[in-house]
């Protein structure tokens, strides 16, 4: 609760809240239809009517950024969920079962971590087809390795805690011990890491959509918006800079809040 007294944390929360509203109910924030082009209002600078200006087809950039939040943030969130779930399950099993199983699983994890995340995501997207969901799967799998490692180290720590042995001597079965004792106590560092990972995932997803691996145009993904502005960077730099700045601000906000959740200060 003391977090709420810190201005950075509060600002972060407000930005995240806005981003969530934008992804769930963009019509509340948008001022125009993101797909409607007004031929006479092409490449306008920011003004009261068009907050972020307009693009080369005369669409309102502000509204496109707002509508883009849904695709960008949802696929980033999905990526984190995939990473956490896959990583946590693998880490949990590996740490709890131990022995040979642990050894084999962790060698696979080592391989997973050795492959650069973006490359892994590209492989997944290339084999599953372009689109926000396969993008999320790719980015998520890339992160799963680190989650597995964190989860496993937590499980190893908790497995030797006295209350786990106590539960065993009380007659609690192994699966119940795993669910009732190990998982709740191992969760916190993993959740903190997931929160931090969300920022990274937003960046990865944006990077891949910038490269064109996301939803096909005219869907307004953030990375795609930055990419679309590239052609006009000399005359209208705002077209790329503004969506880029939005990505930056949201990632910073997510990281700031994540840091507090992790108790890292």
């Amino acid at each position: 609760m003391t977090n709420l007294r810190k201005p950075g944390f509060v600002l972060g929360l407000i930005i995240i809240a806005l981003a969530i509203v934008a992804s769930l109910a963009p019509q509340l924030l948008a001022t125009h239809d993101p797909f409607e082009s007004v031929a006479t209002d092409r490449l306008l600078p920011p003004s009261a009517q068009y907050l972020f200006g307009t693009d080369n087809l005369g669409r309102d950039l502000y509204s496109r950024v707002i509508y883009g939040a849904a695709l960008s943030l949802l696929s980033a969130s999905l990526a984190v969920v995939v990473g956490v779930v896959v990583g946590a399950v693998v880490g949990l099993i590996s740490g709890f079962v131990g022995g040979r199983t642990d050894f084999i699983i962790m060698r696979f994890v080592d391989v997973l971590i050795a492959v650069p995340g973006v490359l892994l995501a590209l492989i997944v997207v290339a084999s599953l087809g372009f689109g926000p969901v396969s993008l999320a799967l790719g980015v998520g799998l890339g992160a799963a390795g680190s989650f597995a490692r964190v989860m496993r180290s937590q499980v190893l720590r908790i497995r030797s805690e006295e209350y786990v042995e106590a539960a065993r001597t009380l007659g609690v079965r192994s699966p119940a011990i795993l669910v009732q004792h190990v998982l709740p106590n191992a969760a916190r560092p993993v959740i903190a890491m997931a929160a931090l990972e969300l920022g990274t995932a937003i960046l990865s997803v944006s990077a891949l959509t910038f490269l064109g691996f996301g939803a096909p145009p005219p869907a307004p993904e953030w990375g795609a918006l930055v990419s679309a502005g590239r052609d006009y960077v000399a005359t209208n730099p705002g077209l790329s800079i503004i969506p880029g700045a939005v990505i930056l601000v949201v990632v910073l906000a997510v990281n700031r809040v994540a840091r507090s959740i992790g108790g890292d200060e």
């Binding site: 003391t2 805690e161 006295e162 209350y163 042995e165 106590a166 539960a167 065993r168 001597t169 009380l170 007659g171 609690v172 079965r173 119940a176 009732q180 004792h181 709740p184 106590n185």
Partner: protein, 602 residues
Amino acid sequence: MIEHGSGAKVGSGANAVDEHTTEVDDNILVVRDLHVSYATRSGSVAAVRGISFVVPRGKIVAIVGESGSGKSTTSQALIRRLASGGRIDSGSIEFEGRDLGPMSERELRSIRGGRIGFVPQDPSKSLNPLMRVGDQIAEALRLHLKLSKAEAATEAVRILAEVGLPDPDARATQFPHELSGGMRQRVLIGIAWACNPQLVIADEPTSALDVTVQRHVLDNIDELVRRHNTSVVLVTHDLAVAADRADYVAVMSNGEIVEQGTTEQVLSAPTHEYTKKLVESAPGLASKRLTPSLTVLGEQQQSSAGKLFTHTRPAQPAGSSTASGAVAASAASSGADAAEATNILEVSNLVKTFALRRQGGGSQVLRAVDDVSFVVPRGSTFSIVGESGSGKTTTARIAARIASADSGTVSFDGTDVTSLSGEALRQLRRRVQVVYQNPFGSLDPKMSIEKIIAEPLRAFRVGDRTHRAEVARELLEHVSLSPTLAQRRPTELSGGQRQRVAIARSLAIGPELIVLDEPVSALDVSVQEQILQLLVDLQVQFGLSYLFISHDLGVIRQISDHIAVMRSGKVLEAGTAHDVMSNPQHEYTRELLEAIPGQRAK
């Protein structure tokens, strides 16, 4: 000193430095109205609230108190080494007539270690693991006495000899991990006395040590005090240690000194309620086995009916209805209703070895448990006493079927359970439960108290959720805790309360035998006594048998019917509590008995 330690007397004590010759007023340390507080998130918390005492030259003053009493804060404040957030709010600490309060860090540094020595509590953490012990003593000598390297090295060896380390030349070149806990504490005492200080502050110097070692270390401190005419502030939770060693005692509670005076006065005629309670509950000073309290005996007559969780006991229909109740069923059939075995637990010829890796390759076998046999008669308390490394805990773990033995048998209620595994072993848990030493570690911090207590019921699918909640509340009352604690988490409870919760949990499923592994060692003495009384009451109420493990003969004496003394994996002596205590046969038992602090008080 202390009882008239105010007004004019203290005033003259402050000038002691100029008047060494006048023996009477020669106080090395005068503390006046000292207030210390800690800054926390929710504001400042007073830890020491206006204490005054004096330490005369060459005398030992014990500050006795339980955890949270402010005794350690006091000892840290004396050398201005408070933990972060700590602050001396007011009052003065006059050492040799000079107030340490306003002194600069620089001046203080020359006093600490030089004029005032400090013996820390935990010898395993207080030495630099990468430095030879001789060098660590020499460091203090070179810093404060400006000795040359060679002089300091020679002096360090002399000091090691003085604190009673055998073969000091060789010891000086060893690293801390090569020494035992007792030897490490002697090294720390050597460092404290190295520069011939006027005052030594010893914060629980022997709490981490075995009793027989504790005795020798305290003897060593006594000797140094006499030889060097040093004053000592001995901070301890153990009134019995204070009784044996101190000239004056100050009893602290809630940041205040509630009583002070000569050791004799405080112990023989305590005036404050708290001191009285402390004197009564000190295990070293108490001498009898606890008897069930009267209220319990009254309840006993009208029990059985109406008690929710007695229905869960295996002896009753509800218990045997479990289809897979392998042990319960087989025990019932083999017992053939005729009579329960008179011994609830019999272990014979247990052996457990561990392979130790030696430094130079190769391995050595440690016989942690070496041919141990004993029986626990139904409804009684069998205790195993021994010091660290004696194998007592390993024995208990094998008896409780947590660990397995290399050879030997464990039989429970007439049935051999040595090689049970899987579901059969799980069913044994209905009848044998364990209470662990550390109530901070054995309760899952994420669970509510109610869930913790009901966990065994849930594991064995006894009753529905509401029934289990009711049982948990009832058990809370049985262990004298308020049912309003049910929704709290373990972290919100004190150590004693947590141990009560652990005991309640072990009772939930209605076991017949409870293995108690040092259940009171982590608790304050006054709480220890309450928990032991609770155990004695519950034993009568529910007809329980106990296998009780402790290093503390004082505690053992309060609860046991039978005692086995263990050392190096072997049972040296076993018999009824009375025989072992009053007529010990083995020399080691006698040594243990003599090492119980508090002898002088008797």
